[in-house]
């Protein structure tokens, strides 16, 4: 099987990699680009730990082939902080203790960012439905939702 050469943008920077046709985007991010923030919880679209944003849309990187990324813009958890400065969502997750083991956290943060990108003032119900595809075994979700709503309020300047 011949390898595919993929040219893409990751977190605003041009990126290139070689991949096998059966590799998932998650495989390529982790193994080729060494961006190991995105996690594989299930590999079947159920847990959301692999969440990334492709051309502005939230998707599971485990359910997208790496070759499909060619010519598209990818945002991963590694692009959330600006250097040493945490994104408000990241700060609020820490403040609200919205993580324990942390395995689900990158996916939740990326999914929450995608939510706030299109809806800066979500209701609790909207936030819960939006994040329903991100499973967390530890927190019970309440602290996660509080952190997201608090970050949203801060970002609105409230």
């Amino acid at each position: 099987m011949s390898k595919h050469h993929v040219t893409t943008t990751v977190n605003g920077e041009p990126a290139e990699f070689l991949c096998e046709p059966h590799h998932s985007l998650l495989d390529a991010l982790r193994d080729e680009l060494k961006l190991t923030g995105s996690k594989e919880g299930c590999g079947s679209g159920d847990c959301g730990a692999c969440s990334v944003i492709v051309d502005g849309r939230l998707v599971c990187s485990c359910l997208m082939l790496a070759v499909e990324a060619d010519g598209h813009a990818i945002e991963t958890i590694e692009g959330l902080a600006q250097g040493e400065v945490l994104h408000p969502l990241q700060r609020k997750f820490l403040e609200h203790a919205a993580l324990q083991c942390g395995f689900c956290t990158p996916g939740l943060l990326v999914a929450a960012k995608a939510l706030l990108d299109r809806n800066p003032d979500p209701t609790e119900t909207e936030a819960r439905y939006w994040l329903a595809g991100n499973l967390c075994r530890c927190t019970g979700y309440d602290k996660v939702i509080r952190a997201v709503l608090d970050a949203a309020a801060e970002m609105r300047g409230e």
């Binding site: 099987m1 046709p21 998932s24 079947s44 939230l58 599971c60 359910l63 499909e68 999914a111 329903a132």
Partner: protein, 289 residues
């Protein structure tokens, strides 16, 4: 994942050629939310995946003189963002938007939902109730097929190996017409329909139903169109006698499986209940416009 090769043709003839000439199993891919799960688990072992998403017109929604043309690979998220479609076909949109999580919505398409041929596919009863048709292309040319003629059994379609869907067509709506889709799942998100019901109605100015279509999901090997259920509504307002007949016709159409997610008796009863509730929503929406 096991080995395979991947192609993303830029033209329809090229895509048909790839499918027609593949030595082994070739699979068309839209969003991949069914295909890649099955591929990864080894349930399907295609030698070639033909990604449709570079084909012209395969994504996006166009409003035409006769209604809507929805590209076969248009994602659920995009469908939900099309205000004109939400206005005209709220039931089809709510059904498409029930598929999976936000992440799955970013990729999942109507063509994949239909051609995966699961009896529980959410958008299918809604599309059948809506008289949606598909534009199918293949080496023998192009044909337009009603959605209900595509799936012939669990995991099986009537498409030839070199055929695939490029678009769906939804008709234009007259005044006082609307649709609705409801499903029963044991929780509120991220589950497979135990029963699904799609109802589309057209009313006259007095609220009497002049046209109706009712389709059910997850109660038979394929989604089923239930003409008797539609007949129970036509000529009537939303009164208890009509609803009782609708309920009975829906139950009579059920040949469900018995499993841990729902017994035969439960699925049959719920089919009647959901048909009633979906009809009530469709009537209310139709009356309000």
């Amino acid at each position: 994942m096991p080995k395979m090769s991947y192609a993303a043709p830029a033209t329809i003839p090229e895509a048909i050629g790839l499918l027609a000439n593949a030595a082994g199993l070739a699979k068309v891919m839209s969003g991949g939310t069914d295909l890649l799960v099955q591929f990864r688990s080894g349930r399907t072992r295609p030698e070639l995946i033909v990604d449709t998403k570079k084909l012209p017109g395969i994504t996006g929604i166009r409003v035409t003189d006769d209604g809507f043309v929805i590209g076969a690979a248009t994602s659920g998220a995009e469908i939900g963002e099309c205000a004109a479609l939400v206005q005209a076909w709220p039931g089809v949109v709510e059904a498409a938007n029930l598929i999976g999580s936000t992440q799955v919505q970013g990729r999942a398409s109507l063509a994949g939902n239909l051609c995966n041929a699961s009896p529980a596919a959410d958008s299918v009863p809604a599309m059948i109730a809506a008289r949606a048709t598909c534009v199918v292309v293949g080496s023998k040319g192009r044909r337009e097929v009603p959605v209900e003629d595509i799936v012939i059994g669990p995991g099986r379609t009537s498409l030839a190996r070199d055929e695939f869907i490029i678009a769906f067509h939804l008709p234009r709506r007259p005044a006082h017409a609307a649709d609705a889709y409801l499903r029963f799942i044991p929780r509120t998100e991220m589950d497979i329909a135990v029963v699904g019901a799609g109802v589309s109605v057209t009313l006259d100015a007095a609220g009497v139903c002049t046209d109706a279509r009712v389709a059910l999901g997850a109660v038979a090997p394929t989604a089923v169109l239930v003409p008797d259920a539609a007949a129970a509504l036509i000529g009537h307002t939303l009164d208890e006698a009509a609803l009782a007949k609708l309920d009975a016709a829906a139950r009579a159409a059920c040949k469900p499986i018995d499993d841990k997610r729902g017994t035969i008796a439960f699925r049959t009863k719920v089919a009647g209940v959901l048909a009633r509730r979906a009809a009530a929503i469709a009537f209310e929406r139709a009356g309000a416009r």
